[in-house]
Symmetry: D2
Subunit: 363 residues, 4 copies
């Protein structure tokens, strides 16, 4: 219900600021009997973790998660799962200079007008640091989904001006960019090195895919699967656009081209991105998201202070020059959470539905 909760049956509620004592989450609605330990969450947390390459922020956080409840003798009990990650590498002093300033493209100005008060240390609640808990909660969803044959994966499909065609999932795991083409990695590294020298930042495009999804997930008309997914992905800081399947390319498509024809062997294409009428079709779910360039850059910019006076501002601190680089595990987590929520909703309402029509996959 609250702004810090997501999901109707698989509900993730989080709290915590960048430089506060800890991040905390309560994951409610996980079915009982799932084997679960901190190590299941740690794997994805480590993939998102800062400081693992020279291309991301140098903040060092172990991001060690503690399970506080909901697991007994190694299995989920159906009761809510409490999660805790202590912040360990805050350097709050870096931020006192911006206490009364609004950094352009940051949440500062909006938070100030909304709340009248703000924790300015590292962006407070608006920091990307909160995404650690999305990843932890998503890891629970992913483990359950895997037990149902549903696999959620993602990769970087564009870095600034560099488009990255998909080559292999193996590649994704083998570089700091989640780049699916090993041959592109040197180009990405060179681009990032130059960017750092330019004291600038850049945007990125992430693609997430779920395979093995049963048809039937999604609740028309407002809680369509794609609508909830758009909500989930757009709620990630820095995301400015979401596409399902062909996305914006659909605009110039003809109906004869866009429609995914069905044959007894399977769907012939996937412009739909796995969603028809807001309901999963059994094709892979495919979504793309656009992340804006990091707002925190050391090149000076114009702004005002809380009194309305003009200032020149330089954002110091430790930042990612491209927030998109660490965004893949976060986007995967949100897709997993949406899948989990809709899997449970579908069970609730349509437990008795059985049709003779075979489930088609994409050819």
């Amino acid at each position: 219900m609250s702004g810090n909760s997501f999901g109707k049956l698989f509900t993730v509620t989080t709290a915590g600021e960048s430089h506060g004592p800890a991040l905390v989450a309560i994951v409610d609605g996980c079915p009982p009997g799932l084997e679960l330990g901190p190590e299941d969450l740690q794997h994805d947390l480590d993939r998102r973790k800062p400081g693992t390459s020279r291309h991301t922020t140098q903040r060092q956080e172990a991001d060690e998660v503690e399970i506080l409840s909901g697991v007994f003798e190694g299995k989920t009990t159906g009761c809510p799962i409490g999660l805790l990650i202590r912040n360990t590498d805050q350097k709050s002093k870096d931020y006192s200079a911006i206490k009364e300033l609004f950094r352009p493209a940051h949440a500062d100005y909006a938070y100030h007008h909304k709340y009248g008060i703000r924790d300015y240390r590292g962006g407070g609640r608006s920091s990307a640091r909160e995404t650690a808990m999305r990843v932890a909660a998503g890891a629970i969803a992913r483990k359950y989904l895997a037990s149902c044959g549903i696999v959620v994966r993602g990769y970087m499909s564009q870095l600034g001006p560099i488009e990255i065609p998909f080559k292999s999932w193996d590649s994704v795991a083998q570089n700091a960019f989640f780049c699916p083409d090993p041959d592109k990695v040197p180009e990405l590294e060179a681009y990032m090195d130059q960017l750092r020298r330019d004291e600038d930042s850049v945007g990125a495009r992430i693609t997430v895919i779920a395979e093995g999804v049963p048809p039937g997930l999604g609740e028309p008309i407002f809680d369509r699967f794609d609508a909830d997914l758009a909500h989930a992905l757009m709620s990630i800081g820095a995301v400015k656009g979401v596409e399902i399947g062909a996305g914006f390319a659909s605009i110039a498509q003809r109906g004869t081209e866009h429609r995914d024809e069905l044959t007894p062997a399977g769907f012939l294409s996937n412009n739909a991105g796995g969603v028809l009428g807001g309901i999963s079709s059994g094709q892979p779910i495919v979504a793309h998201l656009a992340l804006k360039p990091t707002s925190s850059i050391t090149t000076p910019g114009r702004s005002i202070d809380i009194h309305g006076k003009p200032v020149e501002i330089v954002t110091k601190g430790r930042h990612d020059p491209c927030v998109g680089i660490r965004a893949t595990p976060i986007a995967e987590a949100m897709l997993a959470i949406v899948l989990m929520d809709h899997l449970l909703r579908q069970r609730a309402q349509n437990a008795d539905v059985a049709v003779e029509t075979p489930v088609l996959r994409q050819l």
Copy 2:
């Protein structure tokens, strides 16, 4: 809570199928004291209504709305507003041929697997006909927002391959396309005429804008304003992509380019689309949505029936060759509903907040 409700404090719940007896909505949460009559809703309903030009479906629906409750002596009472629109021009016989078939790119296949049963007449619940109630509910929101100085408008910014630059709001009201450039209208008409001869359909891009929005709307981290807006817009049938502000163009932007600098006179640009950290900034809210080409076309296509057998399918009935043409009022309505919901949420939690910092608008 249910899949057919949207909004937490301004809640719109709808029901009704394309060829059932009626569409119905309950709008809960409208503040008391707003002057409201059916004519306030009818204006927007007429803008969405089918059959008003040769470029849209020839189904003739008066779309006359009756207010069943929540209004007393011409003013809202704070009680839920019941709305009713009778369907009058159903031609259900057109559809019996597709009873056991799945039209490609339609919801048929997904509904069949989800529910095991489906009202195949005109798409049933998955028909764009349900959007009439979105428009009616949105009109209530728009009237209230107008009383707060918030204006919501939209236009078609692309039709198939034809990009349409914004010229004037006056133009938008003067053609069937919601086209903001009068000089482009003949080109759009010629394109549509050819499309009809080709027995094909095409996609479109719609842009919606809200001006006069106070800073502070949006609830981090999951109910950010942009996240809820993405949810709302993606829930419209045929929408495959949503952008806020610079959207997908952000990917290739540098931070120095993307960040909207602030001066005492106002924001210098609006790549953010009016949302910072998920909270409205006072700049205009700007969103773009991509609509896919209509799935109902008379060019034959391959599909299967409910027994899994291959069939060739031709979609008859009365259809829009470009669903985007009538989508502008629908997108405006959803933006208005999201604004209304967040305006109320902001009042709830931050009623006492007062800051000396001036509200900046975009220059």
Copy 3:
């Protein structure tokens, strides 16, 4: 989400005032494939209907319900079910005299302060007339529950000072009071006749019971079955108290007396009222509710007007001298709605749970 919706997965949203054009409801979340027609709803509506004996209001309403959506070829489709009941016997002129007065024990004063405006005709939204839609929605739930072997029934267990011991369900259907003891009916009739002569009103106690409920319904800790049921029953106008099982009698019970012992043959008692730890136990669900005496009586009383001036007030119009008399079907409906909602929630989260332990019933 809104105040006029109830239930998380089986969601009932209603609108409509006592003297407006119609009552309307949207019931979302009914599983597909349930045979349903207006006659299924009419049966319970007729049991609640005014004007069927001299002991209730003489307002004549047919309470004929129209199903607007969600049913196709006689079966539910899984899409939201729209319901409409036109008001036909409003006599609004009766009420103009109270336009600026607050009737004691009515909602007038509270609505006035809350909304600043109020539909004073027959109580507007605060009228018991809205309960017709609860009954209609409850009838859908009851039909589905019946298909799962769950039976929901209720009776009057006390009228004013007259306690009514349970004798038989047959009796309940055979008198205007829902009285389970045919021998008590003459006493009730005499009491009511005297009450009318006294120009006074009186309270009542209703008992509702659900049998055949599977163990496992209810979501700790806040959405316990008994908590949601208390919410549902207390939301009925005029209800001032709710008990589960032994209720207030538990206060003076010893633990050795209260605890319902288990044997392989079944539970030995049911002080719990079918709920343990907020979860259904398989014993019958038993709840009692206290209804206050009708506020609308013709004996003059002291009050004030909207300007704060003292007035003497006499409530005219057509009223039930004991609202409890028609409350049984309403309480049954709310119990059915809560059961339905929790049945779906239990399916969602615990679909895979299977235990060897036999389900015990009450001996």
Copy 4:
């Protein structure tokens, strides 16, 4: 949304088991700018804390709460408040004997059927230990309410067969029973001492009152103030009944007696318990709750094990012989949370309402 969340705008979500590592809560929706520190929560936590007299469980828990987020420089920021209480005095070994048994009147049997798995140590999630977090969250609400002139208090109004008339609030704070009559305390102590010798337990009645409540809180028709309050109070473990105002006594009241007449000086009585038509009237909110006797007693009882075999059971461990003794702060907390939620909801929707009619209080 989830079963472990309560409140729509002031949302409390909790997790944690009796013998797990910790209890955790996320409180979302507290307005910014409220001065808040752990000491504000500790006061109420200490009032609920076990082990403070010989009449409650001897489990020793410091119940020290840590604020993890949402507070910056001593003030709330509007962001979610994370709370943590470590469990320190678990003696889980006490419970291994009941691993496969169902204690009568406990949640064991129902949890087993619902989840198939259960944390049997001290009742796991079904333990009253979770109420510590209700009290902590309630303390935040109480502090905010106090700043609005709303005072929430409670007392024990009956212990087993002993009725306790209200004498003074001073007395409540001066004994372990929250007894409002100092002269009754010796009788209560003697009763409890005998009860312990009898190896039995007993129920209690708690009364909670809120004064200074503005008229207008509560959202008809389902989220009436009294309905939400009944939900909140019935969600406390061991509660079997809830009354508002005259409650079950209303049944035998006449309308002329029950109705609270209004005069320019104030209401003449408060049978309504401060709620008219589901909306607060400005009179004190008054609610009573019935708590059943503790289920954990050492007198042997009959039950079955998970295989359906009969067993004789004795509940060991450290238990409260009357759970009602520590229930007052919990009931106060739930009343405060409901008030807070509805205060925010009222602001959202009716911010502009202003009437000339004076607010009446009770004489």
